[in-house]
Symmetry: C2
Subunit: 235 residues, 2 copies
Amino acid sequence: MKNLIIASTSTIHNSDYLEYLLPTLKEHFKAIKTLLFIPYARPSGITHDEYTARVANAFQKIDIEVKGIHEFEYPIEAVLSAEGIFTGGGNTFLLVKQLYSNNIITAIQQAANNGIPYLGCSAGSNICGLTMETTNDMPIIYPPSFKTLALVPFNINPHYLDPTEGSTHMGETRETRINEFHTLNSQPVVGLREGSWLEVKNNTIILKGNLTARIFEQGKAAIEVDPDTDLSYLK
Amino acid sequence: MKNLIIASTSTIHNSDYLEYLLPTLKEHFKAIKTLLFIPYARPSGITHDEYTARVANAFQKIDIEVKGIHEFEYPIEAVLSAEGIFTGGGNTFLLVKQLYSNNIITAIQQAANNGIPYLGCSAGSNICGLTMETTNDMPIIYPPSFKTLALVPFNINPHYLDPTEGSTHMGETRETRINEFHTLNSQPVVGLREGSWLEVKNNTIILKGNLTARIFEQGKAAIEVDPDTDLSYLK
């Protein structure tokens, strides 16, 4: 039993934090009053308190109270007793390092598999995949493993970005990077553009939002899939 | 005693592989006939043989023979007996994994500190810093450590990229990422644009090429430095 929203980004251009997702979140979290927020990814290095305040401000609009996991003495218990969980974006390496340091990988898996509604954005979505090896982030800290929550049987690439037409930059495009990933790893990768998310209900995984997503499978040409496509076949 | 070229990229737009650097490399490698190439970073997943052939083709123009380290039975001995060393670009995670797997970190440090001429491009430049934690690459494989060669007392960010004006993409800019690095780490970061390189002679480090570089020090505003600036003060 799973009930997850795995979003490419928290924020789309010219819009407030989480604004584009609020109608969806109102439905997703309709049964809960309090949300446990995991602020470990610390975008731009902001503090856990600052980050939690930003999230509380957004969720206030749909009458949900937010508590940061750093406010609890026992993080494992905080996860296991949560009504709902949101892991925010920022740096995936820092997030994963902190998940392991606080020993809450198994607890989040257990909560998610018990049907507790979960929301991930960006780094918080990356960790829903088998590994964090398709993150776009800079490796600013060394985590004890790249293995993540495996709530879906593939990897996520959030903020998926098409090649810039006419670019003179010689750094790798996102597609080149994911193809390099597939020279060493076999699981599929879902490239989620900003504004897209995956809705996971039990074992059904549907692409949501208005944009197509790009699906990379080892040994195959990448394909575009439309909104509302069922991606449960990917593994 | 050091004699290094640490280049942002092997290739600039509208130019052949290493072409813009060949006059510099002719001087840098003037005393040697054979170059040891380290192809471990495998850009786009090409094989060690394919990558070495590409490099041999470029160095043929300045009458230097190239041998790939994978052609030797004993990689440590190959490094320690090399006349000159070139580590090519590709994926830094894969490169660092292979450097540790083949146990050649210390050997390269020893060779470089003995004055053997060294060239790094992109991932091969990243590893010249204290850590690989300011790479732009995707973490497609888990290395046993992020610590690298420490041939210079700071970190390198190759392919340094300015923010795209008018971009609607919400992913972090390069500067944001490096600032996040500095929330957890204290060493300076040199952002080298494509076409720039550092020339290291003993303990003197000079910015070369026609472009400015961007210097990030913890707790200070980033600055631009001109070509031929002496960066030996950074640590």
